[in-house]
């Protein structure tokens, strides 16, 4: 029987390997016939296209372009994950609110965005943003924000001097704040007085920042967008494509996260809520100290899944022209790069992203798991 088992597996493995070899043979045969190289040397060729909003120049290699693309993907994924979590948690909690109107509004949001393809949301927002007035006659809100079809400009910091001193003092302030935090915690453990850690530590840090700002001779100012004839100067510009992609991904993923959060809160044992009511905790306290910490633990694995989905869905930017990994790969193929290798490399990049997110969330999960369960 044992021999049979291994013989069966050997045959299976043989078939799989034979299939792969067959495909490989076809691939090399086709490449030879068409005169394409089978290696990855194309990655070192000059890209021949520039990437907007970056330092990338068209004389740099395709590999460099892909690295820039990975950076742009990460930019969407990271900020998208933060915002989607925020929106999702708020909507998820709101769906269980005691206020009927709040509950219904959250349900409306969730059920709308969960059931529409994310690609459609991306294209819709992008087309919408492109309809905005041209840059010369762009709309301004209180001089703080400027909105036009070239993107959204928000106030940002502008460097006017050396930041090194400022950062050094800010670091000291951060350390001091941490020390205050520890002190308040110890005091709370000893005396049982309310710790007010956030208020104390935050105050110290903020005071430190202000001191650092003046001590280092005001190293930066806030730059407001100013609209000129040929565009906006100053401020920080969110390109139309980036803004459309980010908002669409956040709205879509947020609706899925809201469902996870709702499920996780409902999964917290009813006795816990009743016990906290019996202890006289307020609604906010009940959420903050009893329900959410337990719901959070349950929801880490499905949340990790949503984070992966958001990162993978950022590839849909290819439809609207934001220069992330997939679009850069698409351009390199259309310029005559070998498609199989290019897509293979693209998949490797995404696998790395996926592995990274899986690693981080697994670590978090292990750390927060209730021991002994």
């Amino acid at each position: 029987m044992r021999v049979l088992r291994w013989a069966f597996q050997a045959v299976f493995l043989f078939l799989v390997v034979a299939f792969l070899l067959y495909i490989w043979g076809n691939l090399t045969g086709n490449f030879e016939r068409l005169g394409i190289r089978t290696d990855f040397r194309y990655l070192r060729q000059p890209a021949g296209f520039a990437i907007p909003d970056s330092d990338f120049r068209s004389s740099q290699s395709i590999f460099q372009a892909l690295l820039q693309g990975a950076q742009n993907t990460a930019k969407v994924a990271f900020i998208g994950i933060l915002l989607a979590t925020l929106l999702g948690v708020i909507a998820g909690v709101a769906r269980l609110s005691t206020n009927w109107l709040v509950r219904r509004t959250a349900a409306l949001y969730v059920e709308t965005f969960r059931n529409i393809p994310v690609l459609l949301i991306i294209i819709f927002l992008w087309s919408g943003l492109l309809q905005l007035p041209a840059i010369g006659e762009g709309r301004e809100w209180l001089g703080l924000m400027s909105v036009s079809n070239r993107g959204i400009v928000v106030p940002w910091f502008e460097r006017t001097g050396s930041v090194a001193v400022f950062l050094a003092v800010a670091l000291v302030a951060l350390l001091a704040a941490a020390a205050v935090w520890v002190w308040r915690t110890r005091r709370f453990d000893r005396t049982g007085e309310p710790p007010r850690r956030l208020r104390f530590a935050g105050g110290v840090f903020l005071a430190g920042l202000i001191v650092a700002f003046f001590l280092s001779g005001q190293p930066f100012t806030i730059s407001l967008p100013e609209t000129g004839r040929f565009g906006t100067t100053g401020g920080f510009r969110l390109a139309t494509e980036y803004a459309a992609l980010l908002i669409a991904l956040v709205l879509y993923t947020g609706s899925h996260i809201a469902e996870i959060v709702r499920g996780a809160i409902l999964a917290v044992h009813k006795g816990q809520t009743e016990a906290s009511n019996a202890l006289g905790l307020s609604g906010v306290q009940r959420l903050r100290y009893v329900v959410l910490p337990q719901a959070f633990r349950v929801s880490i694995p499905p949340m990790a899944n949503q984070y992966l989905n958001l990162t993978k869905n950022s590839s849909l930017a290819v439809a609207i022209g934001y220069y992330e990994l997939t679009r850069i790969t698409g351009i390199s193929i259309s310029q005559g790069g070998p498609a199989p290798q290019a897509i293979f490399v693209l998949m490797l990049f995404y696998l790395m992203f996926s592995l990274f997110i899986a690693l981080v969330t697994n670590l978090l999960n292990r750390k927060l798991e209730i021991p002994g369960r």
Partner: protein, 424 residues
């Protein structure tokens, strides 16, 4: 032999003349309701006012757009394009015929499933369904069909749709009469119905799938994708839980690699590079086929994970009992494990189908004219060019996707409750 144990207790009888206090009647006084649900505290009052204003404003803008400002002419004139795109118009009767076949087999299946459920509830194996009102259940679907018919504005189409609905109801009644023990043949019959409806369109001088477009292509890719990927996914799931390490490794690798990359990369691979992997000289399959291959390869990995969840939910005792009865491993899987596992994952599979339905919009990027692509292309017609009509077309497409997905997701929730998943 005399029974010496304690006598069973008599059921408690209410003494005559005593009033029984039922559960407290909830007051349906609207003012009390509003006080409790909208203005229970200062914070709640503020929230109510703020949300009320925002919601009222958005509703007003939305309704005003839909009923006053929007120019729906682009949808009305292109409704056939949106449904089937370049499908030859003189062959449209085939699509209607396919709809009749589908309605018949679906109605038959639903009817037979109802009979089987009734038997199960009688035997105490099933959970009695909640009082689901049929009209509320099918509301999104009816709304969708209604909107499509209003957009089409054609009497023939309306009559045909009524005919399709009548066929579904008639076959549902017919399906009711099928004894529960023949249910597996009915399930097979539904599958045959789906294949038949495909053949009605393509066979005997019909229209090959490469000429399909619009909602027809979307539906074909979604249904075809799930039907083909289901057996592959079940195989992968069994392989991943197999006791053969080599098979386990290969299946796990496949599932995890596919799940680690976006669908669009697989679509790219299939659309742009599949030709390189075929033997030299073979003709490349059409773009529709290549997109279907990518969707199947992708969905199979996800179906596998869903099914694996079902396999893990089968109690270990079931397998041990089967072994104790002397069943071979193959028979244990086929007769004991799979039926229970697959039954438990039906709602999750519906969820997977919904996601595939939404994901078919991605084939637009590799150049197929499914629903979303048609919506984008009709705004470039000379009559409608550069008028910002994308809002109308995209809103319409979003509604079609929304109605379909929302309807199916609610049905899957119902199924979940009925199957008692997670409550056993």
């Amino acid at each position: 032999m005399t029974f010496t144990g304690p006598r069973p207790k008599e059921p408690y009888q209410i003494p005559p003349g005593e009033e029984v206090e039922g559960p407290p009647v909830t007051a349906r006084d609207p003012r009390a309701w509003a006080k409790e649900n909208l203005f229970s505290s200062v914070l709640n009052t503020i929230l109510t006012v703020v949300f009320g204003f925002v919601l009222a404003f958005l509703t007003y803008r939305f309704l005003r757009f839909v009923f006053v400002d929007a120019e729906w002419e682009i949808i009305q004139r292109n409704i056939t394009n949106l449904m089937v795109f370049h499908f030859p118009r003189e062959e449209l009767w085939r699509v209607w015929a396919a709809l009749f076949v589908l309605a018949a087999s679906a109605g038959f299946g639903v009817g037979a499933a109802g009979t089987r459920r009734a038997v199960e509830i009688e035997e105490g194996r099933g959970v009695a369904p909640g009082r689901g009102m049929l009209l509320r259940r099918v509301a999104p679907l009816v709304l969708l069909v209604g909107v499509l018919l209003v957009a089409a504005g054609s009497l023939t189409a309306t009559l045909l749709v009524l005919g399709v609905a009548a066929t579904a109801i008639a076959f549902r009644l017919l399906g009711r009469r099928v004894p529960a023990r023949y249910f597996r043949f009915v399930a097979l019959g539904v599958l045959v119905g789906i294949v038949a409806s495909y053949l009605v369109i393509t066979a005997f001088g019909g229209v090959p799938r490469d000429d399909w477009g619009g909602l027809l292509l979307t539906a074909f890719l979604a249904v075809g994708g799930i039907v083909i990927s289901f057996p592959i996914g079940v195989g992968l799931a069994l392989g991943r839980r197999s006791s053969f390490p080599v098979i386990r490794l290969v299946c796990t690798l496949y599932i995890e690699l596919i799940r680690g990359v976006p669908l669009i990369t697989i679509l790219f691979m299939s659309a742009f590079a599949l030709g390189f992997f075929l033997p030299p000289g073979t003709e490349r399959p059409s773009l529709v086929t290549r997109a279907l291959v990518a969707l199947v390869a992708f969905t199979a990995a996800y179906v596998a994970e869903v099914v694996r969840g079902g396999l893990q939910s089968v109690p270990r005792g079931q397998i041990e009992a089967a072994q104790a009865l002397g069943l071979s491993p193959l028979k244990t899987t086929r007769l004991i494990v799979l039926p229970q596992a697959l039954r438990a994952v039906i709602p999750a599979l519906v969820g997977q189908f919904i996601s595939l339905f939404k994901d078919t919009s991605l084939v637009f990027i590799v150049g197929l004219t499914e629903l979303l692509a048609v919506a984008q292309s009709i705004t470039k017609q000379p009559d409608f060019l550069a008028q910002g009509l994308f809002v109308e077309t995209l809103l319409f497409v979003a509604f079609v996707y929304w109605a379909g997905s929302y309807w199916m997701s609610r049905e899957s929730q119902r199924l979940e409750q009925r199957l008692g998943v997670g409550t056993r």
